[in-house]
Amino acid sequence: MSGRRIVITSGKGGVGKTTTTANLGAALAKRGARVILVDADIGLRNLDLVLGLEKRIVFDVVEVAEGRCQLRQALIKDKRFESLSILPAAQTRDKDAITEQQFAAIVEQAAEQADFVLIDCPAGIEAGFRNAIAGAQEAIVVTTPEVSAIRDADRVVGKLNEKKIPIRLIVNRLRPAMVRSGDMLSVDDVCEILSVELLGIVPDDEEIIDTTNRGEPIVLDESAKLRTIYDKIARRMEGEVVAFTNFDAQGLFGRLFGALKAG
């Protein structure tokens, strides 16, 4: 049976698409799923770097499209997870080096040997975006609770609706204290404005910068607070009903600090 093909997109750059793709992929793989991550950001390759796999790249997705190598030759296996591998983007080529049809065919081929194919979409709504969504059956839209990110996410939601691709939303870099004081849009606000079903809430946390610096998925860091957040999202992706963490409650920070002291 063919795996699910999910594009991770946002419209705006810098909201955390690649970090989300890498960490969700790792979280799903840790749970035992076979996962292939596809970097669709041709010319601005980064997924390999976030996962610490940059030194192992031999072939890339454009070379697969051009028939210079087999898909399995281009896939880089993540040694930390048995079932996680990535298909890197080409770094020295343009977005038009690959067509929508070629991209869709590669993604479909990847899905034959995986439970999840997550496609890391480039920012924007041009050729790179069209390639990235070409082979996708589902979409995860990542946004931060900021006006510019939400407006761009709305544009992407419109484009995905046109293609009849079902969408779920991840609200990234939420700062609960700011939401409580009325200085940041809440998750409910964001969901209401975008009219999209919620998949996950990721609070803003410095530890993601640290793990990304090292090229380590956060799910491997047993002391990381965000580890359980990504694990929860992975479980929701698998179809499990997992309650959302209530970041509006005052008690959360206390709990986090408690955990910090304990760890």
Binding site: E146, V147, I150, R151, D154, R155, G158, V179, S181, G182, D183, M184, L185, S186, D189, E192, I193, S195
Partner: protein
């Protein structure tokens, strides 16, 4: 102290401002991205008004104006003729003609507020948008 209180009450949290600004800008974005919606609305609007008065279809103009907290639709619909009461309607409709009592102005400007999302606008805002001019259509 009173000044401080006023200030506290007068300035709303920036998240509310963000929400309102986003709601407006997304309505504008959605309209700009769907010109066919405006064309269809224009046609339907003119159809309704034509039941009562004769209008110049070629010169109908629809604009959207962003005001402080709302998006308003301004429709300029030139009226060519208004029949006498009881004299039959221009569009040969068997409907009564209450509009025949309207002043014979060359243009009628209607500005119903547009609610693009089901949640848009609280009742207070709607009230604020109410104008003495007739609202021939309210788009939802």
């Amino acid at each position: 102290m009173i000044e401080w209180l006023k200030k506290m009450l007068g300035t709303q949290p920036s998240s509310n401002t963000a929400k309102e600004r986003l709601r407006l800008v997304l309505m504008t974005d959605h309209l700009a991205l769907a010109p066919e919606i405006i064309e269809n609305m224009k046609r339907d609007l003119v159809d309704v008004i034509s039941r009562y008065v004769e209008v110049d279809r070629q010169k109908v103009e629809i604009d959207f104006e962003r005001e402080d907290r709302a998006l308003a639709m301004m429709a300029s619909i030139p009226i060519i003729a208004v029949n006498r009461p009881g004299g039959g309607t221009p569009a040969d409709e068997a409907e009564p003609t209450p509009a025949a009592e309207a002043p014979p102005a060359a243009q009628a400007t209607a500005s119903p507020s547009v609610a693009a999302t089901p949640t848009a606008g609280d009742p207070a805002k709607r009230k604020r948008r109410k104008k003495p001019s007739a609202n021939p259509a309210t788009a939802h």
